[in-house]
């Protein structure tokens, strides 16, 4: 278990650093790439928890698709590829206050509630189980999400279309 713990802290450190850079860097493209780091770290944490399927989905969907979308968005809005000016506005201190407040509250609540609960990993969750669950218990939400995606797709096309 120690190895896992160590791995967790390493990944966590990377993720924290990446996240901070995402919100602080002055280069847009870098920000997107730092985000990739955070997402990848997240996928790694999932694997640590034995949740493989979602980890791979994370890698494929997020890193493979979402980040690409981001980059396209950056290009299409003709954002400067290099750091030119500050990318943060004058709301830094309020933002920090809100962030600290939120994070602090969450942390307090978590510590308070689950102070020493342990995660006992027995065996990884297999994809079959997930399939069973999705197509039995959560069929309707699944379908709804499918429709939602379709709607988002059409909506995005309609909105972004030039006419």
């Amino acid at each position: 278990m120690v190895a896992q713990n160590v791995a967790f802290w390493i990944f966590a450190a990377f993720m924290a650093a990446g996240a901070i850079r995402v919100v602080t860097t002055d280069n847009i493209v870098h920000a997107a790439l730092w985000l990739v780091l955070v997402l990848a770290g997240g996928a790694a944490q999932f694997i640590l928890l034995g949740q493989e399927f979602v980890a791979w989905v994370q890698v494929i969907v997020y890193i493979g698709a979402v980040i690409v979308l981001f980059l396209f968005g950056i290009m299409l809005t003709r954002a400067p590829m290099e750091a030119e000016e500050k990318l943060n506005n004058n709301l830094r201190w309020p933002g920090l206050a809100a962030a600290l407040l939120f994070a602090g509250t969450l942390a307090w609540a978590f510590l308070d509630q689950w102070g020493s609960d342990k995660i006992k990993l027995t065996k990884p969750v297999r994809t079959k189980e997930i399939g069973d669950l999705v197509f039995r218990g959560y069929l309707v939400p699944f379908e709804v999400v499918g429709v939602l995606l379709l709607a988002a797709l059409i909506g995005a096309v309609v909105m972004a279309r030039k006419d």
């Binding site: 709301l91 809100a98 407040l101 609540a109």
Partner: protein, 766 residues
């Protein structure tokens, strides 16, 4: 025996019902029958009159039966000892009223009973009201011929009679209230009969509003009667439900008074009801509407003044008399509000009658004065005398009013102005003259006319009950009455005819209107109301042009429908007095009319006075003095035409001789003139300027206050608060507007920070 021994008494509810139906019929179908609609009204009031006569006959025989010949026989023979013996035989003397009632509605255990309560008082009133009303109906067929709203007039007349009769037979105070208000409504309709002219509708409004002011008293008073009963029932250990039944009210009032409980409730109840009487019966200071009410057609004035509207107040006083008797502690013999108001009204009304040039206004002020006698009589404990005076006054005052109507109707100008349009009329209309003289005699109290007996009775009993002050006040009133009535008769029937002929018609009309224009919405001056029964003018474009010609030649005698009621009323003006006279040892009226006020045996105020020779002598002397004064001043013009204009020291010596050492001046100028001039003028001035102004300025003040309240408090103040709060909200919005920077991220910050704060709170307090 006619049908049932009690048939008429049991079915007295038919008497108000028949005219009420007639009202509806005339209103709905009147147009179809044109002027024949009058006959519907006549037929209905005629049958009501027959029914009323039936009740009179049956009631008298009922009283005589239950009295038993023996008690009354003894009383009759002993005469002077009447009082003591009657007290002894008292228990037999009350004849219980006949009550039929039904529960109208029920509300939380309280039942409102309505029905009829027939006793001597009610029977007497039924007779008076139906009689006068019948005569007025008949009289009006001629008098209002060709009027443009002939049908409405008859409909209103029917309703008027119906409501008054309803009031008379009422068995509960609430019914009294209903009848009372309906009477007020009808007087409104009739006074304002010619509503096209503003002064007429003003007069109608004034009458309604003034009596309505009195009705504050009636409303609260009737409510208090309810609680008087409740209090008494609770005191007697009963279940303590209130009631409006007049019998119960009287019983309770006597009981509470006897047991010394709830004096203040009784007092306030009496005070409230006295206010109602003041409004309705034209008592000082609420009398100002009565002269204005002359704006209505003259037969209506007769009806209002003799038998319906104003008498309702006195009737109320007599109906729930125990309330006043106990509430004002009348037995004590001290000055009480009721006697004081009545006494003041006697003098004030009579004083004002001096300075009127309008014959109807003289009569109107005289009515006020006579009503003052009645209320004063009630106030001094002379119940029987008050009612007796009501009874006789109804006939002779109706006689006088209808006589005045005859004079105007058959005179040249349809005017009531004595100074301009009358004089010497006795030659032109001798029959009217005679009847008018009989009425005047009765009003003055010439011996052996009806007024003599009734007025005398009031004064005698007032003296007996230790109200000496009011006795002499009444005598002063009698002097004044004699004086102004002599003047009135002189101006109307003696001297030279001053009226013009047809061509003067328009001029007379204008005089009235010139004065009439400065009126305003509520309160009009007395003189501002042109008193013209100029229905002929209204009718000029109407169907009956042919009839109108009588206005175009000189004065002449009226025809049958007008004279017949006058003859009958003249007869009654004398005959009605012979029902009660201690002097002649007649006590029938007292015996027949006295009501039964509950079970208490010790309450008896219905005694006729004990005859003392001094009383009639004083009264006659008063009358003679009054007449002589007027005779000297007006008739003989002992002091010339325009005495008041003369002055100056230089001519004094010559005048001293010419004027017979100024003895006449002393008599006429200083005494009569003083009374006639400054005092009456002052009274009139007070009436016109103070009381009327109080009313006027109260009206104006209310309007002003209303304007103020509306403009400043409502529109600016109260509304301002809301408008202010609205703009306050606007200002807040302006502040909030500042927050709407349009910076999405600032919004996001606000939302997220707020959310975080709430979450933190939840965490902390959980």
């Amino acid at each position: 025996m006619l049908m049932n021994h009690f048939w008429f008494l049991d079915h007295a509810w038919l008497i108000p019902l028949i005219p009420a139906i007639s009202y509806a019929v005339i209103l709905l179908f009147g147009k179809r029958y044109g002027e024949r609609a009058a006959w519907i009204g006549l037929a209905s009031i005629g049958s009501a009159w027959v029914l009323a006569l039936g009740t009179v006959v049956q009631w008298i025989s009922h009283v005589n039966d239950s009295e038993g010949a023996e008690a009354r026989g003894v009383v009759q023979s002993i005469g002077g000892m009447v009082r003591n013996i009657r007290l002894a035989a008292e228990s037999k003397l009350h004849v219980e009223p006949i009550i039929h009632s039904t529960t109208w509605f029920q509300n939380n255990g309280f039942k409102l009973n309505v029905g009829i309560q027939i006793d001597g008082l009610a029977v007497m009133m039924l007779f008076v009201v139906t009689t006068i009303s019948l005569l007025v109906h008949f009289y009006s067929t001629e008098y209002l011929k060709g009027d443009r709203r002939f049908n409405h007039y008859y409909a209103a007349l029917s309703l008027f009679s119906a409501s008054m009769l309803f009031l008379v037979v009422a068995s509960s105070t609430l019914q009294l209230l209903a009848g009372w208000e309906l009477v007020g409504l009808c007087s409104f309709m009739l006074i304002g009969h010619w509503w096209e002219e503003k002064p007429n509708s003003n007069a109608a409004l004034k009458a309604f509003l003034t009596t309505r002011t009195g009705d504050i008293g009636l409303l609260t008073g009737v409510i208090m009667t309810f609680f008087v009963v409740q209090k008494y029932a609770t005191m007697a250990g009963g279940k303590g439900t209130g009631s409006f039944d007049i019998m119960k009210v009287n019983e309770a009032a006597i009981g509470l008074g006897e047991h010394g409980g709830s004096k203040s409730l009784l007092f306030w109840c009496a005070a409230a009801l006295l206010l109602a009487i003041m409004g309705k019966s034209g008592q000082f200071p609420l009398h100002t509407w009565l002269p204005d009410a002359m704006a209505g057609p003259t037969p209506v004035s007769a009806l209002i003044h003799a038998a319906t509207m104003v008498v309702a107040g006195v009737y109320l006083g007599a109906r729930v008399y125990p309330i006043f008797y106990q509430g004002f502690h009348i037995a004590g013999g001290t000055i009480n509000p009721m006697a004081a108001i009545g006494g003041a009204t006697v003098i004030i009304g009579a004083g004002l009658a001096f300075v009127q040039n309008d014959i109807k206004k003289v009569l109107a002020y005289s009515t006020i004065s006579q009503l003052g006698y009645m209320v004063m009589a009630l106030g001094v404990g002379a119940w029987t005398a008050a009612i007796f005076h009501l009874f006789t006054h109804a006939f002779f005052k109706a006689n006088l009013f209808l006589g005045a109507g005859s004079v105007s109707h058959s005179g040249a100008n349809h005017s009531f102005d004595m100074k301009h349009d009358m004089g010497g009329l006795r030659k032109y209309m001798p029959k009217t003259f005679i009847t008018f003289m009989i009425g005047t005699a009765a009003l003055i109290g010439i011996p052996f006319t009806a007024g003599f007996f009734s007025k005398d009775e009031i004064l005698a009993v007032a003296g007996e009950n230790n109200f000496t002050f009011f006795k002499y006040l009444g005598l002063v009133g009698a002097v004044m009455t004699a004086c102004y009535m002599t003047r009135c008769v002189y101006l109307t029937f003696f001297g030279e005819y001053r009226g013009g002929h047809a061509d003067a018609h328009g001029a007379g009309h204008d005089v009235g209107h010139d004065v009439g224009h400065d009126t305003h919405a509520y309160v009009s001056d007395d003189h501002a109301t042109p008193i013209h029964d100029d229905h002929a003018a209204h009718a000029a474009h109407d169907l009956h042009d042919a009839h109108d010609d009588h206005g175009h030649h000189g004065p002449h005698e009226s025809n049958f429908p007008i004279l017949a009621p006058l003859f009958f009323l003249s007869f009654m003006s004398i005959a009605s007095g012979y029902l009660l006279s201690p002097m002649l040892k007649i006590e029938k009226f007292a015996l027949w009319v006295e009501p039964h006020f509950g079970d208490d045996k010790h309450f008896n105020v219905f005694e006729p006075g004990v005859f003392k020779a001094i009383d009639p002598i004083l009264a006659v002397a008063a009358g003679v003095v009054g007449m002589l004064l007027a005779y000297a001043f007006y008739w003989k013009k002992a002091y010339g035409e325009n005495i008041t204009e003369r002055n100056g020291a230089l001519r004094a010596g010559k005048n001293f001789l010419v004027n017979k050492y100024y003895l006449d001046v002393l008599y006429t100028d200083i005494i009569v003139g003083g009374v006639k001039g400054p005092i009456a003028q002052a009274a009139y001035w007070v009436n016109q300027n103070v009381i009327d102004n109080v009313l006027r300025y109260t009206g104006k003040g209310a309007a002003g206050a209303a304007q103020f309240v509306y403009k400043y408090i409502d529109q600016k103040g109260v509304d301002g608060v809301y408008n202010g709060s609205a703009s306050g909200a606007g200002a807040l919005g302006g502040l909030a507007r500042k927050l709407q920077t349009g910076r999405v991220q600032l919004y996001a910050f606000t939302v997220l920070f707020g959310l975080g704060a709430i979450a933190l709170l939840l965490v902390i307090f959980n």
